[in-house]
């Protein structure tokens, strides 16, 4: 894990290379995180991967989280790993909820990290985050025609009524 001063150095160099990309940094419980502007996430990931001295070329995990009621609402996390130095760095793209029926959008990093293919599909499936440029963005774990973004914080845990024998005719299924 880059320590706190190291993290500030990385953030500084990143802001020099791509101005305005790093919005915030935090170093908490021994883990380093960069909060970046979602429009420049590909530039940030590319810089971290290609710059000599950084070389975070292994994407261990790509996942999303809903920080409701905090703003910005969504965070797409990229867990980067430098295998040579065994250092992990988290990059969080802070996405806003556009509101209404629109879905938050972000550029897909599948070209840079092919491992992101299934993981971006999972983030789309559960949060409704659209990854522009993904070759095959469709639901992966929920049924294809499902309506709703289950993992969002405002989607209730008991989101669908339980269908017993006594109410199975009255309760509408998700496909109705």
């Amino acid at each position: 894990m880059p320590d706190a001063p190291g993290l500030e150095l990385i953030a500084g160099e990143l802001n020099d290379a791509h101005p305005g990309s790093v919005l915030e940094t935090y170093h908490d419980r021994g883990q380093a995180c960069l909060i970046v502007d979602p429009g420049q996430v590909l530039a940030v990931l590319g810089w971290l991967r290609d710059t000599s001295g950084q070389e975070y070329w292994f994407l261990a995990s790509l996942h999303a989280a809903d920080y409701l009621p905090a703003e910005p609402r969504f965070g797409v996390h990229y867990e980067l790993l430098n295998m040579a130095r065994v250092e992990r760095l988290r990059v969080r793209a802070a996405l806003d909820d556009p509101g209404g029926d629109d879905l938050p959008e972000l550029d897909s990093c599948v070209d840079m990290f092919p491992t992101a293919e299934f993981q971006e599909r999972e983030a789309y499936d559960f949060f409704g985050i659209v990854f522009r440029g993904h070759p095959d963005l469709r639901r992966i774990l929920m049924p294809e025609e499902y309506v709703g973004w289950p993992q969002r914080r405002d989607f209730p845990v008991g989101g669908e009524p339980v269908i017993f024998t006594h109410n199975e005719r009255e309760v509408p299924r998700w496909y109705e």
């Binding site: 908490d28 419980r29 021994g30 883990q31 995180c33 070329w57 292994f58 994407l59 261990a60 995990s61 996942h63 989280a65 809903d66 920080y67 996390h77 867990e79 295998m83 065994v86 992990r88 988290r90 990290f113 092919p114 491992t115 293919e117 299934f118 993981q119 999972e122 559960f126 639901r139 992966i140 774990l141 929920m142 049924p143 289950p150 993992q151 914080r153 989607f155 845990v157």
Partner: protein, 464 residues
């Protein structure tokens, strides 16, 4: 025996009635160009068949990556047939559905469809206090349950900043390595079954049952034991457990020798697995593959050595690494990992320190029951912990451990309440599944089954 020119094109079975009538028995052709291995044998073929065999690749091309030449060689007259494998299928390890586009017997495209055992574990965890999440996340990858517990408990312990006692670390390592042996035994039995070696299944499950008996002895449950708690382990190991584990470890290497004697030099197993499913190391790293698949391809990456957690730094063990990463290498790596796990367990038992098995911090850990009748504070803490649970200051953490299938990561977001705001598991099977397409492209369907077995997917982890 050389056959007429008409058959040298690659058709083994007679095309016309007159050829069939002429001699009902056809002999195998001279070795056709490419990887058409069956044609190499001088097998006797009886009768005619409407199936035409396609040959693939020109001579000299790499059998592991036939690629584009195969398509041209096969000719443009053949069309692709898309079939559906699963979700219920005797060969798939769980409810995995594969849409396979075939050209004859060659796989041209592969799409895995998952989600048939998705039970919304990650969503349900947001509604439970941190203790109650532990039995939930155990049940994701249902074969390596201790690893899920360790990933989650480790993440929460990092969030709280709780140090677990040494004895708890050693006990956790013992159980984790026993679970690794258990997981590899299940894999070996089912994979050998897929390839056709049915007796391996029974031998492996005999050993697996001994591991389950050990788990039952230490925690009362065979599977999904809820043994790891935030702060350590649930309770100390009973008298006699160490002796039983030692007896198991003493016998296990000879059992592994028996498995190797059945499979490692077995001609059928070698012909099924040698050179099959090779994916270059760089492509594996691009796809995020970790665990035995990556190590079989020659990359010595193991989180137990790279980022030692618990007591792994105190133990001496080696990381088995393969060479080219075909099915045989994957088999060898996992079998050797079983041997190394036995060594780790023996060392952990040797060095098992005395002391508490769970942390002493009453804010997060239940006080001992004998104090409840004498101490008011213990009673209050017990009450609050059981009803509401402990609260965790806001923050987020990603904790990665080395599971039997690769990097198992747990991401927990805490928002200050007694329930986690987000629990996400970076499951190794889910990420590893992406390599199945690369492994199976331009290979036979039979090799697809074998590749799937060697990939070792557990659908509970993929679907969560």
């Amino acid at each position: 025996m050389k056959t007429p020119e008409a058959q040298a094109e690659g058709k083994v079975f007679g095309a016309g009635a007159e050829e069939a009538a002429g001699s009902g028995v056809r002999h195998g052709t001279a070795p056709a160009p490419g990887r058409d291995r069956v044609a190499h044998t001088e097998a006797t073929v009886i009768g005619t068949s409407p199936i035409e065999r396609t040959t693939v690749a020109e001579p000299g091309s790499d059998p592991a990556a036939p690629g584009r030449e195969a398509e041209e060689a096969a000719g443009s007259g053949s069309e692709l047939m898309t079939i559906n494998l699963g979700p219920h299928h005797p060969a798939t390890h769980g409810v995995l559905r594969l849409l396979v586009s075939l050209e004859g017997e060659i796989v041209r495209d592969l799409k895995p469809i998952v989600g048939y055992v998705h039970t919304g574990i990650e969503k349900s965890c947001e509604d439970k206090s941190y203790w109650k999440v532990i039995p939930f996340v155990e049940r994701m990858d249902y074969v390596s349950y201790y690893f899920q517990m360790e990933a989650f408990c480790g993440a929460v312990e990092r969030l709280i900043g709780l140090e677990i006692p040494e004895r708890a670390k050693y006990l956790r390592v013992i159980h984790l390595e026993l679970n690794r042996i258990h997981s590899h035994l299940v894999w070996l039995g089912t994979s050998a079954l897929d390839v056709g070696a049915m007796s391996m299944f029974f031998y492996c499950f005999r050993e697996r049952d001994r591991v389950l008996d050990l788990f039952e002895m230490s925690s009362g449950q065979r599977m999904h034991t809820r043994y790891f708690q935030i702060g350590g382990v649930f309770e100390d190991i009973p008298v006699g457990f160490a002796e039983k584990v030692r007896a198991f470890c003493a016998e296990m290497p000879s059992r592994i020798d028996q498995y190797e004697a059945l499979l490692t030099r077995n001609e059928i197993f070698l012909r099924r697995t040698k050179g099959i499913g090779v994916v270059p190391r760089e492509r594996l790293l691009d796809l995020g593959v970790t665990g035995p698949l990556l190590r079989a391809a020659g990359e010595p990456w193991d989180l137990r050595k790279a980022e030692p957690y618990l007591s792994y730094a105190d133990h001496e063990f080696r990381i088995p690494v393969g060479t080219i990463g075909d099915g045989w290498d994957r088999y060898r790596v996992r079998v050797q990992e079983m041997r190394e796990s036995v060594r780790i367990i023996e060392q952990a038992l040797e060095g098992l320190p005395e002391g508490p098995w769970i942390a002493d911090d009453r804010k997060y850990v239940l006080p001992p029951r004998n104090e409840l009748s004498t101490s008011m504070e213990s009673l209050i803490h017990h009450f609050k912990l059981v009803t509401e649970g402990f609260r965790v200051a806001p923050g987020e953490v990603y904790n990665a451990i080395e599971g039997p299938r690769g990097e198992l990561g747990c991401f927990v977001v805490a928002d200050g309440s007694a329930k986690p705001a987000r629990v996400h598991f970076r499951d190794s099977s889910f990420v590893n599944l992406q390599v199945l397409r690369d492994m199976c492209m331009d290979e036979y369907v039979a090799d697809l089954i074998q590749n799937l077995a060697m990939l070792d997917p557990i659908l509970g982890g993929i679907d969560r």
